[in-house]
Symmetry: C4
Subunit: 272 residues, 4 copies
Amino acid sequence: MNKYLRIKHRIFEVIEVAGEGDILSKIFDTTIIALIIINVASVIIDTFNIPATVTKVLSYIEITSVIIFTIEYALRIWTADLLRPEMSPIKARIRYIFSFMAIIDLLAILPFYLPFLIPIDLRVLRALRIVRLLRMFKINRYTTALKTVGNVFKAKASELMSSMLVVLILMIVAAVLMYNIENAAQPKAFENAFSSFWWAIATLTTVGYGDIYPVTIAGKILSSIIALLGVALVAVPTGIISAGFMEQIHKSEDNDKEEEKEYCPFCGKKIK
Amino acid sequence: MNKYLRIKHRIFEVIEVAGEGDILSKIFDTTIIALIIINVASVIIDTFNIPATVTKVLSYIEITSVIIFTIEYALRIWTADLLRPEMSPIKARIRYIFSFMAIIDLLAILPFYLPFLIPIDLRVLRALRIVRLLRMFKINRYTTALKTVGNVFKAKASELMSSMLVVLILMIVAAVLMYNIENAAQPKAFENAFSSFWWAIATLTTVGYGDIYPVTIAGKILSSIIALLGVALVAVPTGIISAGFMEQIHKSEDNDKEEEKEYCPFCGKKIK
Amino acid sequence: MNKYLRIKHRIFEVIEVAGEGDILSKIFDTTIIALIIINVASVIIDTFNIPATVTKVLSYIEITSVIIFTIEYALRIWTADLLRPEMSPIKARIRYIFSFMAIIDLLAILPFYLPFLIPIDLRVLRALRIVRLLRMFKINRYTTALKTVGNVFKAKASELMSSMLVVLILMIVAAVLMYNIENAAQPKAFENAFSSFWWAIATLTTVGYGDIYPVTIAGKILSSIIALLGVALVAVPTGIISAGFMEQIHKSEDNDKEEEKEYCPFCGKKIK
Amino acid sequence: MNKYLRIKHRIFEVIEVAGEGDILSKIFDTTIIALIIINVASVIIDTFNIPATVTKVLSYIEITSVIIFTIEYALRIWTADLLRPEMSPIKARIRYIFSFMAIIDLLAILPFYLPFLIPIDLRVLRALRIVRLLRMFKINRYTTALKTVGNVFKAKASELMSSMLVVLILMIVAAVLMYNIENAAQPKAFENAFSSFWWAIATLTTVGYGDIYPVTIAGKILSSIIALLGVALVAVPTGIISAGFMEQIHKSEDNDKEEEKEYCPFCGKKIK
């Protein structure tokens, strides 16, 4: 292995999630996570009335972050062929560029370079700053904690989707009915189906801001039914997800038992 | 089999849920689902302030839909005898007409023909337009996703009903008590038992719009108790439904194991 | 068996929950349930502004109900010795009088007779009318549906109580803290610990009427923490109750398996 | 054993949770619990407008409590060496002083002695009174009820934390987005990211006080999505905790079966 390849391998090791005892890699990971948190904080601070000096500091942070994230992005693409040694280097890199994490990485730096590439309205640019929040998802690379939660959602996707469909149908029926009931009494609050949708969501999710609610008797009866159904409909996804977590546990327990199974628990003989 | 019967069989195949590779049948299914979605959208659009041209387009959509749905309804009745070959054709058709899906199909087209049959008030006719939303349930024919959710509710119906009974009794007691407590302090808000029912539902379901709430100390204490019970009463249906989903999973797992059971899982011998 | 005893036995059969094919007993049960529903309805109607004639009808209903319930109560005490044949008749009756259902029966008729027994304020008498709602619990005698729900609550009582204790401690801490934070900014809304208790309950149960909420930054941070804890604390009783329902199912499944267990599922031999 | 050691042992027995039949120890426990409840009540009463005489009584209660709690604290440290006989007395005492319960005990009495030790502002002193609420946690010593709930939370800590992380990321994104959407329409309500955080929490936890809500169409759509996600995110911790309680039950069942397992449940033969 020549020196070029050795350096490339070392860089690949560093930018990947740190292995046991690899201090440089750990420093890299910590720096990236710290930068992400600083960036999110700066987006939040940006919404407050801040003196010009702070704005300046924030813009320096932004420039530094983008430079580091750009270098990181370039290095990741350069070393992408080590991720998939069975492919040709170019194919491996193209494949990497279109992976979920790489797209996030690109979106996190792109808004900064956009004004240099195409003429862009200042106000649109301001809005694009929010895209920086996507950098939070870069943390994903370093956490495996969300896996169980994600697995449960994946396993139960079809059941959750179908219960969402019921909620949607219910909401459409409720919203159109409520519009017809309340429009005469409150023409401003229940102006159209969109307004009653807003009411239907506030009621079904039991948020109930109190900016829109029925005043007629028929409307109150319908609202009561929807609120009670709302309770039932909260119960359904909860039930589905509970069952999903239980299954997940059973599965990992079954895996634990796999080894025990080699011997019959009853007669103690070896099972072929 | 003569030509008439062959055509009838083909039509039956087409209007039923599409089999593998039956393109015509798939086109038919997609058309019906698309029409249903367009119809629901048009009912929603109808609630906005729309120019006359859009109203005209909507009415054309309505007429086209009704014609197609009417033909579909007629074909379904005509081919209903193929659904139950063991019955006489007339009996099979009568049976079909009173099935849930057929009633939905009829209700979805009936309001359009009503004014031709009997003299009807224009405002009532407007209200009848909402019945068109029932067409959404025609989608049911094409989805099996809701089955698990439906099965859980069916299996747990008696437990859910009885917990609903407890909620109802609790609400009646709370509403009458609250009326007696708050009526003196807020004669307008807590005008009668209906008003306190409205409050009881908003509190038990934790919607809490904020249009009605107790102001006296006794009222606030009662409201606190009801709100805390509300939490408990949300927990009960959730618990019932969770248990239901778990059972459903166990059942399908048991079915999977059925075949395995013929052979001893430990020694591999056949079990008599 | 002489005639007196035969009649007594028949009356006992009639007032107890109807057996298969006992038409008279079924009529009795239906009458009592109908009367209870009419009584609850009349208490509710009573809260509306009603013309004098309706008030008169309601008072006739009340008198009729009380007479029937009094006769029922007397018959139940008279036949109580048949319920516990192993006791002496007097002991059996005393035991019955202090049973839960008998106390409900007594409380349901007592308020009517009170003014004849002791001088009583008219306003207190009005309040006592609500006691009539207790008659709803007489329905309990005819329903076994609540048993599973009740069993789960009984089995999980200690865990539910201890999670309630946590909620209580949390609420006390939150209420006193919030009083100290918000009292200066909103001396009227957060007047004393009772007001902040009211806020704490509205927040923890996520009712959120909107009549009381923090306006200071410290208050909003505390409120956010309490609201998030509220979510967690709803999850705990739900989890406990879910687990309870699952256990209940496992138990009844185990009972079903009891018989199967007589034969070894693996070798088919009889198990001693 | 000399007399000094016998007395020390007896005191140790008395201040520890009472054993079967140890009346003096039971009196001690009851006194401490009663004192704690009285103290909490006095902190609550303190928030009401109370006459000077009551304030005086409360201060007497405070002095008495602190004296008793101080003596208790001293005795506990003195007898701490009996708790860990395998250590040297000094080491055992230092270890005890830094235990959770000992720190709570110290914090519960410290604020009273502070003004004697260092000059302290009167207003800060007032705020320190709330620390007295910590005395509630002294009850912990006497209750084992919270153990199951605590165990479930400990076992599921990582899953709960990771779902909290998702909620946090979601809330940050929602808050910054909402600020950008609503700031122009409601510059006062959505003043900065902190205000929209307050809105995001009120919506995600479905509290919905109604003091802050979107008015623009884009804002209402975002709010609807957040409210629906809120339902899903309540379902996740509930599902995790439900699964946790189920596991807890299975574990204790497995422990029960441990002994049975030594004998084959089917043929009754001893299993090697």
